[in-house]
Symmetry: C2
Subunit: 183 residues, 2 copies
DNA sequence: GCGTATTGCGCAATGG
DNA sequence: GCCATTGCGCAATACG
């Protein structure tokens, strides 16, 4: 096993410049506004000629891929396109995820508000019950001692004007859709 | 953001590539991450060796930046580092966002479950009330005509065995502390 | 095996 | 001037 150059793939990155012949502006104009006029201003560099001619005449050989090859250029271009696409999608996905977070946060708030409301309603009802129970207790002595015959219950709770629960819960809109997430 | 100059630089990208020519491994830089490119092994191509010298001998001039410059290399390296860092953070952020989504989804489910439970409790209590009201109505003819003496209430609502709500909610674990959202 | 998709990396332009 | 961000191309690799 040994393999001679096994080291890790260290992207060597050479870069030849290739000026890109032909129309490169085939970009379908992604969303955001690209718009470009392509005025060619001075290329930053490269010397000139771009690599039309590599320093040494040597070109392909067993190991090298000649960048002059038409096929090479074609493949590169295809890959570049794919890369562009991939990155676009990646970005889109990120944005979507972010939006999802916002939506979920909103829904969370709504749910919490609802919980608060329900809790309040419950609390009111429970208080009513308690009050009722107290009234009962008032008129009915609680624990008759063992051995003593239970007194005939004849006192029913007086109205006591339980109208105090003037809470306006009459809306009673119980609209929970179960687990369905909102649109 | 960013779409500054409308003309995307025509990607001229020349790239002279200067392979690592001489000992380029001068980046010990253990900053945090270690990882560095190993000495080159060559295979990959390109100009193979040649790149030690750019295609044309000309280098600096009024406009071009000579890549041979020590300072240039230094700047490049610094930028590369910054780029790496930036990308790392970007990725991290994306991951965090994704996780946030998961957390929010979980919390949402919890909240919905709670709502369901509260709704049920409310419903039970309300039913009780209704039942009670009906019983009252049964024994108390609603509107005593004016002038008529109110009948002596002596019949209190029979138990009616309202035990039908045997749902064991006696646990009453109403752990909600009011408006406080659970942790 | 070939073709696209994804990923790491470097370069250059640009923003702050 | 420096670092941060971003678009882009290249090459290696993953995936079908």
């Amino acid at each position: 096993m040994s393999m001679p150059s096994q080291q890790k793939p260290m992207t060597d990155q050479n870069g030849v410049s290739v000026i890109q012949s032909q129309t490169l502006n085939s970009t379908p104009m992604p969303t955001g506004g690209g718009l470009q006029q392509v005025p060619q201003l001075v290329p930053v560099s490269s010397g000139g000629g771009g690599k039309a001619a590599p320093p040494s005449g040597r070109m392909k050989k067993g190991a090298s891929v000649d960048k002059e090859s038409d096929e090479y250029r074609q493949r590169r271009e295809r890959n570049n396109l794919a890369v562009k696409k991939s990155r676009m999608r990646s970005k889109q996905k990120a944005a979507d995820t972010q939006q999802r977070v916002n939506e979920l946060k909103e829904e969370n708030e709504r749910l919490e508000a609802k919980i608060k409301l329900l809790s309040k309603e419950l609390s009111v009802l429970k208080d009513l019950f308690l009050e009722h129970a107290h009234n009962l207790a008032d008129n009915a002595p609680p624990p008759p001692p063992p051995g003593a015959p239970p007194p005939p219950a004849e006192a029913c709770p007086p109205p006591h004007n339980n109208n105090n629960n003037n809470n306006n819960n009459h809306h009673a809109n119980n609209n929970n859709k179960g687990s369905g997430a909102g649109p």
